[in-house]
Assembly symmetry: C2
Homo-oligomer: 308 residues x 2
């Protein structure tokens, strides 16, 4: 397969390396000309779970270049950068399916409003990857990549079945997900309970469990989010809070992406995570004051971090 | 006059020095034996507004010593330390009036429940003072000290009139305040809007004004607090938010006491400031989710800071 991966972050580099090792044709489309140049010169250094290092040489592009042909576009940039990818996506053939890897909610509406004829699919991945520098990525955890459609389709298109087969063949454990909306909501709830608190206190995931007050905040965020999800018709198991706690335990020493963004003075995904819950709550007519407060607090913190 | 000042913080040391310079007899009652010993050996170094340094030699005591006679007790410890002063206060003659300098609300109920026969008065001071070390204090800003009773008395007792006269004579600008409850509430609202945000983001007072999201949080805290105050029968001017903003501007480079506590890993007054608003809201039957959230968040932050 011929795949264009837009975004040279941890997820973008991981999928590029893993699929290139399985002899697919990859193009990394970078948002910065500099990263595109660096990868063109040095390739991608891929460190697998056993700490073995392999080198791959994908094609590279800067996002302002002219388009290349592809069977799939993997859109791996973070939510705040979605808008900046629209001009590039508009240059592509409309029949190339786009697979979105964003957390949170909101990107699909943006894409559909600018690209009304695009075939848009969603991936939710639990793979762990860490970008060490613009040209090297480390695989840090096994995971499953669920792919599906956010639209209510009963049938799975063959293009999606074909993709899952190829991913599996490249040792990326993949599955078709029929209830993609439920899965997106669950990931959203999980991120909305963990990420803003780790970013606000600048602590690792596991440290949330050792602080009674942080745990109470997490539970309040959870209760508010679940109420919104249920009113949206999404089923959430009664023990899902325990699952979130378990994820914090399993990823004890991890820094959430939101904390990493705060530490490096970057814009976070807060508007698309807790902010998405605030917007969804408005649709169903309830209030989520704790999510609203954390959305504001992280935006304030982000501004202070960027100034330092 | 003979005054026992309980607490060797900035406010305790400031009033001790200023009154000792006017030839009153002062005793500093320290919570730590070490500070009591240091002040006994070295005296208090007092740096006035013109940066002139003067030395005063008050008597000193450790809070576990036996009581001394006094005309007034000035209770200047912070809210979280009130309980630790009760055993000492119980040893005093019940007719010695106690002047409380705490911010927030809650200390009066605690004192009354343990000392049912005590004469308890409240001071609200806008004096600026900064403790440089356990034996030296700097006067950093002119201010007025309002004294009065939180109980609903129409008459001002002569003991209070006499105190104001003596404070004025010692160049501490003082006034009798008939609406002490209103003044306490206003200081409470002001502190509840400024302190937790400065502590959470670890910024100076003025930096709150330069961050749109921090300002929005401040306004939400303000709206919630004013609703509670009004339901408690306290009048708040419609432009009081502007006053709070002006205070942030006037104290641009100041670190709030709550931020100082966070930075030194100490317990903050959050439970008696924003927490007091949460309790007051419960009494009048409304919800203040932003104050409740910030109370939790600061308690969490305090625990993380103490562990570092």
């Amino acid at each position: 397969m011929n795949i264009s991966v837009i975004g040279g972050g941890s997820i973008g580099l991981y999928f590029t390396a893993q699929l290139a090792l399985a002899s697919h044709q990859l193009t990394v489309v970078c948002r910065s000309e500099r990263q595109a140049g660096e990868i063109a010169r040095k390739g991608i250094r891929y460190i697998d779970l056993t700490d073995s290092v392999q080198q791959v040489w994908p094609r590279t592009q800067w996002i302002e270049d002219r388009p290349l042909d592809a069977d799939w576009i993997f859109l791996t940039v973070k939510q705040p950068q979605i808008l900046s990818t629209i001009p590039y996506l508009k240059k592509q053939r409309a029949d190339i399916p786009i697979l979105c890897f964003q957390n949170g909610m909101g990107h699909e509406e943006v894409l559909r409003s600018h690209l009304p004829y695009a075939s848009i699919y969603q991936a939710i991945t639990t793979v762990g990857a860490y970008r060490r520098d613009p040209c090297s990525v480390q695989h840090t955890g096994q995971g499953v990549t669920y792919v599906g459609s956010l639209a209510n389709n009963s049938e799975t298109p063959s293009v999606l079945r074909n993709l899952v087969e190829k991913l599996d063949g490249a040792a990326v454990s993949a599955q078709i997900e029929r209830d993609m909306r439920d899965r997106v909501w669950k990931k959203l709830i999980m991120n909305s309970c963990i990420n803003p608190l780790t970013a606000l206190f600048q602590v690792q995931n596991g440290e949330l469990l050792e602080n009674k007050h942080a745990l109470q905040m997490m539970e309040q965020l959870y209760q508010e989010a679940v109420a919104v999800a249920r009113l949206q018709g999404v089923e959430i198991d009664s023990n899902f809070l325990q699952e979130i706690v378990q994820v914090c335990r399993n990823t004890y020493g991890n820094k959430s992406s939101m904390l990493q963004d705060i530490e490096s003075g970057k814009e976070t995904e807060i508007k698309f995570i807790n902010g998405a819950i605030v917007r969804a709550a408005r649709h169903v007519g309830i209030e989520v004051p704790i999510h609203a407060a954390l959305t504001q607090l992280i935006q304030a913190k982000q501004q202070y971090s960027a100034q330092r």
